[in-house]
């Protein structure tokens, strides 16, 4: 990371404590930097203002590209580039093109979406992200505040009062 952040974070022992704390933070108008959890917590996204993922739209576009590539490619090859007759089928045997068209639609959509997913999340082989707390991937639920965005003292007292089992400061 080019620049570091000073953060203060609290660890909760249960996702319901976390959800309550996040609600309380919203009421107190404390801007949360990020929330980290060991598994996807339901009902959290709207609370921290995450809009619905648009990955499926990207997937649809990738899939459509796959459809066009496959169907267009095969049509071009069999009618323009090198027309041949196999087994008495017409030059443009639409039913015979459907299986490959389907497969490439799925292939393009999947690869496209997975690559998009890693790119927009800034994840990938060799990426090293700063670790806030090792137990986040185990059983702790973390709310982190950026000290440059919120008053550190206020954030800390919020964390303590909202049921965090631990409160720490760190530079990441």
């Amino acid at each position: 990371m080019a620049h570091t952040k000073d953060i203060v974070y609290g660890l909760y022992n249960d996702e319901e404590d976390l959800l309550r704390a996040v609600k309380k933070a919203n009421e107190d108008h404390l801007e949360i930097m990020d929330v980290y959890t060991p598994f996807p917590v339901h009902g959290l996204d709207p609370l921290i203002g995450l809009s619905e993922s648009r990955l499926h739209i990207a997937g649809f576009i990738y899939g459509a590209i796959g459809t066009l590539t496959a169907f267009g490619g095969m049509s071009w090859i069999f009618t323009r580039d090198w027309p041949q007759i196999f087994g008495g089928k017409p030059h443009w045997p639409v039913p015979a093109f459907i299986p490959i068209t389907f497969e490439l639609t799925v292939l393009f959509a999947s690869i496209g979406m997975v690559v998009t997913f890693y790119v927009i999340n800034g994840l990938g082989p060799g990426v090293v992200n700063p670790t806030i707390d090792l137990r986040i991937t185990d059983d702790k639920f973390c709310i982190a505040f950026d000290k440059s965005e919120v008053n550190a003292g206020k954030a800390e007292s919020f964390l303590r009062s909202s049921g965090a089992s631990e409160v720490h400061s760190k530079t990441i």
Binding site: F60, G88, K89, P95, A96, I98
Partner: protein, 452 residues
Amino acid sequence: MTYDLTSKTRITLIAGMLVGLLCLAFVWMGDDSFHTRFWGNILHNATFFTGIGLMAAFFMSVSITAWAGWYVAFKRVWEAMSLFLIVGCVLILILGLATFFDLHHLYHWNMEGIAEVGNPNYDRIIAGKAGFLNKGVYLIGSMVLMAIWTFIVIRIRALSIAEEKHGSLNDFSYHYSMRKYAAAFLPLAGFGSAFVVWQWIMSIDAHWYSTMFAWYTGASWFVSMIALTIMILLFLKSQGFYQNVSVEHFHDLGKFLFAFSIFWTYVWFSQYMLIWYANVGEETIYFRERVDNYPALFWINILINFIAPFFILMRNDTKRKMGSLGFVAGLVLVGHWIDFFLMIRPGIRHTAHEALGHGHGHGDAHGGHGHEAAHDVAHGAGHGAHEAAHEVAHHASGLPFELGFTFPGILEFGTFIGFLCLFLYFVLNRVASASLSSDTDPYIQESIHHHT
């Protein structure tokens, strides 16, 4: 909470049934001497709606055995729909008796002397199937299966009512008994549905065969059942009932409508593509006939039953909006009814045509279509040539446009409305006969708080 079948609804539905009867009467009057169009309408609608009842029972049984909980809030609707098998018994009995006593000529294999060597009607291929395609198996086989299915459906319903009256949330005994019946129903429906589809529908094109056909028809019934479930629930909701059936339940039903529309297409494509690809004359004739002489219906079938639900229901929000969901449900219900039309009418038309031809002597009924020549050749030659000539005469040349056969006419749609109203009247009546949801079903809380 109990649904009350208001007199307004009652009158509307009865009026719909009368429209159906009236249409049937008109069809009867303007019909050929075998009343083929009339019986065709009966066969078409009776099998379509009985199958919907069967699929409701099937899906309910699947859900019970698979520990599904989400549907329980509206399980009474599926129970009521599955009880339509009782009416189905009557409808199939009428069809079976009519077949038994030769009141119609829907089935080529039911022609007199078809399996008798030396008879002018003798058909070697059909004679080979006579052990399966005959009046007795048709009537008794269908009725035995219908009776078994109906028995199980009635038992499941009775247990469900008893659970509500005498059970408690912690008493799973009724549910366990239901599970036993449901599990038994699955193989009975699995094997039995193939039997009835072969008998009722595939045997119309008596020479033709496709191993996929039973599952194809089953998929069509299934989608129609989901569509009708959505429509009945929307109606009941609009009447102020089923407040606990939320958008989440509709979302799931929408997913099923979407997924099984794709499944239907998959089965349709697989059957079509394999027959197209292998290009065996005995098999391709089925599609050749439909593509050449019924092109509009052939493509409408794909358009309504695949393209429309696929593109409309692909998004999540359209499954959650009652307008778009209801629209697609109505569309595919009609779409699969048309699918059945396309399965049934071309075959019965040819059978009747041939029967009339034989009944009235050559050339009387169909002058000028090149049939006489084919028939004469056929009769002069051996059996092999006879069949071949029949194929030529009856499929390749194409019969002229005829409302009710080539395309559903206003009277067909009227009959459809009549049967639909009969179905709805019966189902809503059954829905009204018990409370709308059971507080003692083990899954009721899960269902009410269902979240997709």
